[in-house]
C-alpha cells in the first residue's frame, strides 16, 4: 500500500516539475506585466510552484492554484513595498514595444492589471480571472472595461497601437 502511495506522490511531483518547466516563463511574463518587477515575478513563480509541490495531494486543481498563489504572493510583496516599481527602474533588457506596454499597464490599478494580463494575455475567461484574483466575474468585466478605455488613451496617445 505504501509503495503504491509513494509512486503516486512521485508521479504527481514529477507532473508539477514538468508543469514548472513548461509554464514558468509564461507565468513569469504575466507577473512581470502585473508587477513591473522581473525579480519579484521570478520569486513569485518559484515560490508558488514550490508551495504546490509541498502541498501535494491537498490541491485539486494545481495549475489554477499556482496562478492564484503566484499573483497573491506578488500582490503581497507589492503591497509591502507600498508602490509599483516603474519598469524603467528595472535593470532588464527588453524590446521597446514591450517596455511601452509594461509602462502602459503600470498606469492601471492592481486588479485592473491582473485582469488585463490574465484575460487578454493568458486567455482566462472572466470567471477564472475572478477566482485567481479573488473577485467576481462581474467586477472583472468592469476592470476589463475600464482598463480598455485607459489603455486606449495611454497607448494611442503615445501612438503605439495603430501600427
Amino acid at each position: 500500500m505504501g509503495g503504491v502511495l509513494d509512486a503516486a506522490v512521485r508521479r504527481r511531483n514529477e507532473w508539477i516539475e514538468d508543469l514548472y518547466r513548461e509554464r514558468r516563463d509564461e507565468l513569469w511574463r504575466a507577473l512581470l506585466a502585473y508587477s513591473g518587477d522581473a525579480e519579484l515575478a521570478a520569486d513569485a513563480v518559484a515560490e508558488a510552484f514550490a508551495q504546490a509541490l509541498r502541498r501535494g495531494e491537498a490541491l485539486r486543481s494545481p495549475l489554477r492554484w499556482i496562478w492564484k498563489a503566484a499573483f497573491r504572493i506578488a500582490a503581497g510583496e507589492l503591497k509591502a513595498r507600498g508602490r509599483v516599481r516603474h519598469v524603467d527602474d528595472v535593470p532588464y533588457q527588453m524590446p521597446d514595444q514591450a517596455t511601452d506596454l509594461l509602462q502602459a499597464i503600470a498606469t492601471l490599478s492592481p486588479k485592473q492589471r491582473a485582469a488585463v494580463v490574465l484575460h487578454y494575455y493568458i486567455g482566462y475567461p472572466a470567471k477564472d480571472v475572478a477566482k485567481i484574483i479573488g473577485s467576481t466575474p462581474g467586477a472583472v468585466r468592469v476592470h476589463l472595461s475600464v482598463s480598455r478605455r485607459r489603455l486606449r488613451a495611454v497607448l494611442r496617445g503615445g501612438g503605439e497601437t495603430d501600427g
Binding site: E17, R24, W28, R29, A30, L32, A33, A38, A42, A46, E47, F49, A50, Q51, L53, R55, A58, L59, R60, W65, K68, A69, R72, I73, A75, G76, E77, K79, A80, M94, P95, Q97, A98, D100, L101, S109, P110, K111, V116, V117, Y120, Y121, K131, G134, S135, T136, G138, A139, V140, R141, V142, H143, L144, S145, V146, R148, R149, L151, L155, R156
Partner: protein, 436 residues
C-alpha cells in the same frame, strides 16, 4: 480598443526573454517556520482541547505533531479557549501561507466553539484533513455517524451563490452577516453559509440516514438547531474577532469587500486621496444622505460585445450638508459606477450604505487636473454627481468607509472603522473647517 487589438498588443510580452537561472523546485527552501510552528502549536492545543474529554489527546498529537512551543500552560487551558482569533502579527514573508494559516486558525476557533457551545444533538466532531489550498479546512465526521464539514475563507468559493439569491429561502440575516441555506447536495447533504463582508463560513451537514430536514419531529438534523447554532457562531465572531480578521489577511490585499461583491469595480474613478481630510477638502460636496432610489437604466457605452454592463444612478436625499451648494432635502442624482444589474440591486445597495451615509461628491465628469484627469462628462450626466473617488467615498452609518480599501491600506482611516457615526461626522466637519 477592441479585444483582439489588445490581445495582439499584449503579445509583445512574448518578446521578453525569461530568466535563464530558474532554480530547481526541490532546491527552493520551504518556509515552514515560524508561522507553521505557531500553527502547529495552535492546532495541537485546539484539537487536544476538543478531544481530551473523549480520551483522544494522543490521537490529536499524532495527527498534528508534537507542540514545539508549549513550555507552560499546555493545551486546553481556559485562557486559550477564550482568546480571540490571533490575526496578528503574522510574518508577511509569504502572503498565501499567511492567508492559509489565518483562515485555518479561524477554522480551528470555530471547532473550539463547536465543542464549547455544543453541536446539534448526536454529532461528534473530529478534525480530518486540510482541504484544498489556502482557506480550506474541514472537520470530518466520516468515521462516526455522519459528516460535518466546515470551510473557511476570505474569498467566496464558487459554490456559494452569494450575492445572488440563494437556492433556498434565506434563513436569517444579521446585519452584514447573512446566513444562507444552500441546496441539497448530490450526496444528500445540506449546506449553509454564514457570509460576512470578507469572510465566509460554509457548513455542510451529512447526517446518517439521510435528511429529515423538513420534519423536525423525526430524528435527524433539525433546522432550528442548526440555525440556533449559527446564531451563536455569529455572535461569537462579532464579539471576539478583531475587525482585521474579517477584512483580509496581513500581507496581502484586503479580501473581497462588499463593494466589489456588489458588482461595482472602481466606478468612475476621478482621483485618490491620502486621507479623509484630503478627500473632504477635494470633494465639491459632502452630504449626509439616505438612498431613496436606484436606477439601472443608465446604459454605459460598452465596447466589449460579451458584456452587458450598465451604470447605476442612485438618488440621494440630503439630510445634512457638510459642504457644497446642496440643500437639505434636495434629491441628488449620483452616477455610481458600472455593475451588472439584477432585480436585487436596490436592496443590496441599501444594505451597503445602511440607513444613512456620508457621501463625498464631485460633479460627474468634473475635470480633476491634480490627478491628470480631464472632464469628459457625457451629455446625459448634466447635473449629476459622482463619488469623489472610488476609495472611501461613502461612509456608512456604522462609521465604516465602505469604499475604502486603498485609503485603509495607506494607514487611514483605520481608526474610523466602527467609530460612532456622530464622531465620524465631527471629524469630517473638522477636516472641512480646517480648509476654511
Amino acid at each position: 480598443m477592441v479585444d483582439r487589438e489588445l490581445r495582439r498588443w499584449l503579445r509583445a510580452l512574448d518578446s521578453i526573454e525569461g530568466p535563464t537561472d530558474w532554480p530547481r523546485l526541490s532546491k527552493i527552501p520551504g518556509k515552514p517556520l515560524p508561522t507553521a510552528r505557531r500553527w502547529r502549536a495552535f492546532a495541537s492545543a485546539a484539537v487536544a482541547l476538543a478531544l481530551a474529554g473523549a480520551g483522544l489527546t494522543v490521537a490529536a498529537v499524532a495527527f498534528f505533531g508534537a507542540s514545539e512551543t508549549e513550555p507552560g500552560g499546555g493545551p486546553g487551558t481556559r485562557n486559550q479557549q477564550q482568546a480571540p482569533i490571533p490575526c496578528t502579527p503574522l510574518e508577511a514573508e509569504d502572503a498565501s501561507q499567511i492567508e492559509f494559516v489565518t483562515e485555518t486558525k479561524i477554522g480551528l476557533w470555530l471547532f473550539e466553539l463547536l465543542q464549547e457551545t455544543g453541536a446539534p444533538e448526536g454529532w461528534v466532531v473530529t478534525p480530518d484533513h486540510l482541504a484544498e489550498g489556502p482557506g480550506g479546512f474541514r472537520l470530518d465526521l466520516s468515521q462516526y455517524e455522519g459528516r460535518f464539514e466546515v470551510g473557511v475563507g476570505a474569498s467566496r468559493p464558487d459554490w456559494i451563490n452569494y450575492p445572488d439569491p440563494p437556492a433556498e429561502p434565506q434563513l436569517a440575516e444579521r446585519g452584514d452577516a447573512a446566513l444562507y441555506g444552500g441546496s441539497t447536495g448530490a450526496e444528500g447533504h445540506q449546506s449553509f453559509f454564514l457570509v460576512f463582508p470578507d469572510l465566509w463560513i460554509g457548513v455542510s451537514v451529512f447526517p446518517e440516514g439521510g435528511l429529515t430536514w423538513e420534519d423536525p419531529g423525526k430524528e435527524g438534523i433539525r433546522r432550528d438547531a442548526m440555525v440556533a447554532w449559527f446564531h451563536v457562531v455569529a455572535e461569537e465572531i462579532e464579539r471576539t474577532t478583531p475587525p482585521a480578521c474579517l477584512t483580509g489577511s496581513p500581507g496581502e490585499e484586503p479580501a473581497l469587500g462588499l463593494w466589489e461583491r456588489f458588482g461595482i469595480a472602481e466606478g468612475h474613478e476621478v482621483g485618490r486621496y491620502e486621507s479623509l481630510g484630503a478627500m473632504a477638502r477635494g470633494a465639491h460636496a459632502v452630504v449626509g444622505a439616505v438612498v431613496t432610489g436606484v436606477d439601472g437604466d443608465h446604459i454605459y457605452e460598452e465596447d466589449d460585445p460579451g458584456s452587458a454592463l450598465r451604470g447605476i444612478r442612485v438618488t440621494l436625499q440630503a439630510t445634512e450638508v457638510l459642504k457644497g451648494d446642496v440643500g437639505v432635502g434636495d434629491a441628488i442624482p449620483v452616477v455610481v459606477g458600472l455593475a451588472e444589474l439584477d432585480e436585487n440591486v436596490e436592496e443590496r445597495f441599501a444594505e451597503l450604505v445602511g440607513d444613512e451615509g456620508i457621501f463625498f461628491l464631485v460633479p460627474a465628469g468634473a475635470p480633476r487636473p491634480e490627478f491628470g484627469i480631464g472632464g469628459e462628462a457625457p451629455e446625459e450626466w448634466a447635473g449629476d454627481w459622482t463619488l469623489a473617488t472610488s476609495q472611501g467615498a461613502v461612509i456608512d452609518d456604522r462609521g465604516t468607509a465602505v469604499f475604502a480599501t486603498d485609503i485603509v491600506d495607506r494607514g487611514f482611516p483605520e481608526d474610523l472603522d466602527g467609530m460612532p457615526f456622530p464622531e465620524v461626522r465631527s471629524r469630517i466637519r473638522s477636516a472641512i473647517d480646517e480648509d476654511g
